[in-house]
């Protein structure tokens, strides 16, 4: 499982428990945040835009006064977060404390609850959609300067959460063994016998859920109806082509899983150990799933948290996401401004445009979950 969630889960006890118990108790107690801007009249914890501080410069000053930012669940090699963190530290001279890089979305919220009121609590979150939508009461609303350039469907109207970057559902395959699949029906051919795997079980793992949704959309269904996706999995299985083992970089390198549905940045990363590993996006609707950026309502460094939010949606950080093969939410704005390499955008987005992108809302997700719970077990029985 290349999914970050797997690694994040593994860190459950080590990460969150150690953090709450040992680290919090032993930390020498960093200076408490001032909680105000330079003029002392601004409460950073309730500021909903840079204007509340008196402009960007005042926000930067307030954040610098705090001097610290606590982030959680941001692996250095995930969507280029290593460079994004380093860029923030360098630009603003604020120390970023990165806790439990491999924790899951749910564990980010648990850490915020367990560490509430302590100066080691996370300031900002990076969450999957399901966790973000059920925990909005823990977020502080904030609108970044680039707010207007973020499409309406990619943000909560008051800025409780804002989409930051996404993967594209893609098919990775071993070009040494298989010819490039052009359409989803190609996978039913005898060439793909025992070859096609999903990254996880769609009733459990987000990437596999998205894979079924994507196949459904390519097969006459869509985010409204996952049925055709499930039907296709059944056909794949009847043909003896569906491989039910969990793909990992190791199984990809050994050739055990020659074709894998997964997020584009995972499939592209897998090529590092397997040079013949190619990633393709099949023609048709393109399934994307955005992560969500949010500020902890009880952030110990409220000004730095808001500055981080500005940083994440800045041209620089959005371009860094692109370099990590993730699709930034402001991709259209970047394209228009011409501030990043056109070729890089083509490569990361596989030539797709945001008009072809589909992503289920809460009601569609609930319906898909109900359908999968009912039918998936029979497909893989």
């Amino acid at each position: 499982m290349t999914s970050r969630v797997f690694y994040r889960r593994a860190a459950l006890t080590a990460g969150v428990l150690a953090l709450t118990g040992a680290l919090a108790a032993c930390s020498p107690g960093a200076p408490a945040s001032e909680g105000g801007g330079s003029d002392g009249s601004v409460d950073a914890a309730t500021a909903t835009s840079a204007a509340d501080f008196g402009g960007m410069d005042a926000l930067v000053e307030a954040a610098k006064a705090e001097g610290q930012l606590n982030v959680i669940a941001l692996p250095e090699d995930w969507a280029n977060y290593g460079e994004i963190i380093a860029g923030f530290e360098e630009k603003y001279g604020i120390t970023v404390n990165s806790a439990s890089p491999d924790a899951s979305s749910a564990e980010e919220i648990q850490a915020a609850e367990n560490l509430k009121g302590q100066d080691t609590a996370p300031d900002v979150f990076d969450l999957g959609a399901a966790v973000a939508l059920t925990n909005t009461d823990k977020f502080a609303p904030y609108k970044v300067e680039k707010w207007d350039e973020i499409p309406a469907e990619n943000k909560e109207s008051t800025g409780l959460w804002v989409n930051n970057y996404s993967g594209i559902m893609s098919l990775g395959y071993d070009a040494d063994k298989l010819s490039e699949p052009k359409q989803v029906d190609d996978l039913l051919g005898s060439e793909f016998k025992g070859a096609v795997a999903l990254n996880g079980d769609p009733t459990q793992a987000g990437a596999a859920f998205a894979a079924v949704g994507s196949i459904s959309a390519l097969n006459g269904g869509g985010i409204d109806d996952f049925g055709p996706g499930i039907d296709f999995a059944q056909k794949l299985r009847d043909a003896g082509n569906f491989l039910t083992v969990d793909p990992t970089p190791a199984t990809i390198a050994s050739g055990e899983t020659p074709a894998v549905f997964d997020w584009s940045f995972n499939n592209i990363a897998a090529a590092a150990d397997k040079p013949s590993w190619k990633t393709t996006v099949l023609d048709g609707p393109v399934y994307v799933s955005f992560y969500n950026e949010a500020i902890n309502a009880d952030a110990p460094n409220p000004a730095a948290a808001r500055l981080w939010q500005e940083w994440i949606f800045s041209d620089e950080a959005q371009a860094l996401f692109l370099e990590g093969n993730a699709v930034p939410v402001r991709i259209d704005a970047l394209k228009e401004a011409g501030s990043v390499d056109e070729q890089l955008i083509e490569q990361v987005s596989f030539g797709t445009s945001s008009e072809d992108w589909i992503s289920p809302d809460q009601a569609q997700t609930d319906a898909a979950n109900a359908l999968l719970s009912e039918r998936w077990a029979a497909v893989v029985k």
Binding site: S104, G128, G194, T203, Q204, G206, L243, V245, A377
Partner: protein, 281 residues
């Protein structure tokens, strides 16, 4: 006073068991019956849902098959080993290998099977290219429920050897001679003496093998990614699900179900032992 001191000796072990077995078990099971700080039974129906029942059935079936096959193969191996000289190299090698392999499970075992009989495994490729036999002509069954039987046997047989071998070795050569002296034929020693004496030990080992397979998780989790065919995989699904389709509190209820199955098996075993003890005196 001496009794008190003797009881004191139990304290470390009891404390250990309470802290690291009983308390975690209660917490785990309790998680299925609490919600918003109060007690609830609303997760209980999960235990009787058709897919849960079929998972329990599959778990029991898989455990029983691998326990019986493992016990028979292992017992035969013990019988053969007992005839070998105690300090002989073969016996010592099998002995040592069994102790190690009985603990060889989880991701390592799964990957060993993927590397040897996976769809690109050494043996699979050899069979396909040299003998023209494709063991996966109808799909790759290694990553489905029947595919668990072979890996499970890989640790069941050695476990049988290390638990059952002492009982076989305890058979005294004098007994066979006594049977012969009294005019018994070849078969009557095993029929009248050997098998009746070994039966309780055999059944005890069989039960251990069943429990071993029933509670195995990591091997299955590393091999099977789609579906939750057995109960430990259902518990995994309840705990790690991130799509909003699963309920973590179901795990506690499923764990209770596993405890119930084990209790029934233990109870049956106890009754059996009581009966054997009656005639063995």
């Amino acid at each position: 006073m001496r009794k008190f001191l003797a009881a004191l000796g139990l304290v470390p072990f009891t404390a250990y068991v309470v802290l690291f077995l009983i308390v975690p078990t209660l917490i785990a099971v309790g998680s299925g019956f609490t919600a918003d700080g109060g007690l609830t039974l609303e997760n209980l129906p999960v235990l009787f849902a058709p897919e849960t029942l079929s998972a329990f059935w599959a778990s029991i079936w898989l455990s029983a098959v691998t326990a019986v096959v493992g016990a028979v193969v292992g017992a035969t191996l013990c019988w053969a080993l007992a005839a070998l000289p105690e300090q002989g190299p073969l016996r010592r090698v099998v002995d040592a290998a069994s102790s190690v392999l009985a603990q060889f499970g989880g991701v390592m075992l799964a990957f060993a099977f993927i590397a040897t009989i996976g769809s690109q495994g050494l043996i699979t490729v050899l069979l396909r290219e040299r003998l023209g036999t494709d063991i996966y002509a109808d799909g790759v069954w290694l990553y489905e429920l029947p595919g668990l039987v072979l890996p499970y046997l890989y640790f069941q047989v050695p476990l049988m050897v290390i638990t059952f071998l002492p009982a076989v070795l305890a058979l005294r050569p004098g007994w066979a001679e006594a049977v012969a002296t009294l005019g018994g034929r070849g078969g009557s020693y095993w029929l009248r003496v050997g098998i009746p004496i070994l039966t309780p030990a055999f059944l005890g080992s069989l039960l251990l093998l069943f429990a071993n397979a029933f509670s195995s998780y990591a091997t299955a989790a590393a091999l099977i990614s789609q579906g939750s065919q057995i109960v430990p995989l259902k518990i995994r699904a309840a705990l790690i699900g991130e799509t909003g389709a699963s309920l973590a509190s179901n795990a506690g209820v499923l764990a209770l179900g596993m405890i119930v199955v084990m209790t029934i098996v233990m109870f049956g075993y106890g009754r059996l032992m009581a009966r054997t003890a009656r005639w063995q005196g």
